[in-house]
Amino acid sequence: MLLNEILRMAFASLGVNKLRSMLTMAGITIGVFSVIGVMTTVSALRGSIESGLSFLGSNIFQFSKYPTGITNDGNSRRKIEARRNVTLAQAQRYQQLMEGVTDVVCLKAPYRDGPLQATYQNRKTEPGLNMIGTNEHFLAANQFTIDIGRNFNPEDIDLGRPITIIGANIVKKLFPSESPLGKLVKLGGRTYTVVGTFAEKGSTFGQSQDDMVIVPITRYLSDYGSANVSINIATEAPDQQHYNEAVDKAITAMRIVRGLKAGDDNDFEIYSNDSLIAAFAKVADAVRAGALVISGIALMAASVGIMNIMLVSVTERTKEIGIRKSIGARRQSILLQFLIEAVVISLAGGVAGIFLGVAAGNGLAVWMKAEIVFPWDWAAIGLIVCTVIGVGAGLYPAIKASRLDPIESLRFE
């Protein structure tokens, strides 16, 4: 008997109980949706994180007080929280120690005191600017470029001049029709002279890079206080060949700066693009594992649902089975008919789950400004799993149907 004949029969009988078939499919759809949705989001974000993080540049590594990853272990968290801040003096000392290795050492103190607005005369930006106290290496280390005006110079930093470089969004808002250069803007109650503007950059992870404002780190610390500030230090190795050597030297320098003895653990974190990506991968793995567990449970429940519906269906259609057998249907034809029905339910549910999952995952990805992806591998795995579930859930009911006695089935009302 031809397979397409059996398929046609399966679709015909599923069509008889449309609502019931759909509800049974829904279980599978939910299971597949959750895993595909998460996998799509994670892959989309990973692509975007890998490209987004390259703003650090490939030969850059950073020191900071806190690690990027999630630390679940309470003990080590307390230990990290007990760490001393990285002070400006320590950072500058580090800079000096690294002079023979590299000149590009970017110090950063990010503003963390709530929403920040910039004002110029009667014009205002939206709150939510991103202000960083930093030095002249900010541009190189973060791949920003100057649109008009100039970068900071070492003198600006040494003297702590009240100047600023502002992002494209701020320029648009405050200076729609005039040059911002030399103008005085207010940031967090202080006044700074604009010496330059950043070229437009777009956004990473849904966060616009054009809301960026930088001021000299020295000025920043005196304006906003240095008590609770721990400085991030980004260092660029001269090239790829000298990267590991530079990292080693940098760690030694940091240990000296921090006054650590030979046996002490590092009381700072070092991370690079690689370690950020690894940290993300760790989180992503945990999310993935969670999604797999959840969808595994959902799919298990769904397969019980399919088996249940198939058993009900076999009982309801006992007479039909009797008729088919009485006119010459072999066991295998009946078995295949019911098995394929189960597989069709499962696969249809799976395909719906894949499409919904890809749509939702990519919706999230678009919202976070990441690239759209189609997780072929997970979609393929999903279809295989759905087939297996269909066969697994349908086999027993199908065997039961195929073994029915023709004459007894015909008598069934």
Binding site: M1, L2, I323, S326, R330
Partner: protein, 245 residues
């Protein structure tokens, strides 16, 4: 519809019977209903040769349908021997029986047993589907079979959109569509007016003349008279067995 080829009064030739095809010996069938045991057949022996035309008669509950189901390889005897074409049915597996039902036997059920959700055409095509025939060929065959029972204009009606007599004719078309050599019909004219009944019987007569074996259950003497041999059942036993009249 095929015009009756043989009139009632015409002399009906008895064709020379062929090889032994059905051999039943001491067959009993018991049904257990809770503690009660019903003897539907109490020891029946019967030989049927190819190209015989047999009527099975008897009062209601005498075991006619039980016997037909057995002959049609749908049911198995509780005791006794049934050989189909020299092969013991008790030794055949499910699929062998399915094969015989599909290719050798055309069964017209007393209660039609049509698929309720399929139209007449699909119901008639079904045996051909299980025989593995191509869609084109089986459609042609099914249409022909439906035309032969006068239902060429009802092919897309479902059973519940057909009258009792029309359903019966769909059941007959389904039984004949695969050109089976043995036709088993349980009260095939039970729901038909006498004219349509005669037309169906004429169709059977034609099939008999083409060399097929016909076994008809009926309680109407008029219908039984079409056969060449009558077996009378009473209380699960054969009361008489011989040529008509």
């Amino acid at each position: 519809m095929i015009p009756p080829t043989v009139s009632r009064s015409a002399a009906r030739a008895v064709r020379p019977p062929g090889a032994l095809v059905i051999e039943i010996e001491g067959v009993t069938k018991l049904y257990k209903m809770g503690t009660e045991i019903i003897h539907a057949l109490r020891g029946v022996s019967l030989n049927i040769r190819r190209n015989e035309y047999l009527a099975i008669m008897g009062p209601s509950g005498s075991g006619k349908s039980t016997m037909m189901n057995m002959l049609g390889c749908l049911d198995t005897p509780t005791a006794g021997r049934y050989e189909f074409s020299g092969k013991n049915v008790a030794h055949m597996i499910d699929d062998e029986l399915a094969e015989i039902r599909n290719r050798e036997i055309g069964f017209v059920f007393q209660t039609f047993n049509l698929l309720p959700r399929s139209d007449a055409l699909h119901n008639v095509e079904l045996p051909l589907i299980y025989a593995g025939m191509s869609p084109h060929d089986r459609r042609e065959r099914a249409l022909l079979a439906l035309n032969n029972v006068g239902l060429g204009d009802r092919i897309h009606h479902r059973p519940n959109e057909l009258s009792g007599g029309q359903r019966q004719r769909v059941a007959i078309a389904r039984a004949l569509v695969n050109n089976p050599s043995i036709i088993l019909a349980d009260e095939p004219t039970g729901n038909l007016d006498s004219r349509t009944g005669e037309e169906i019987m004429a169709l059977f007569e034609q099939l008999y003349e083409q060399g097929n074996t016909i076994i008809v259950v009926t309680h109407e003497e008029d219908i039984a008279r079409h056969a060449r041999r009558v077996v009378r059942l009473r209380d699960g036993l054969i009361e008489s067995d011989g040529p008509i009249d």
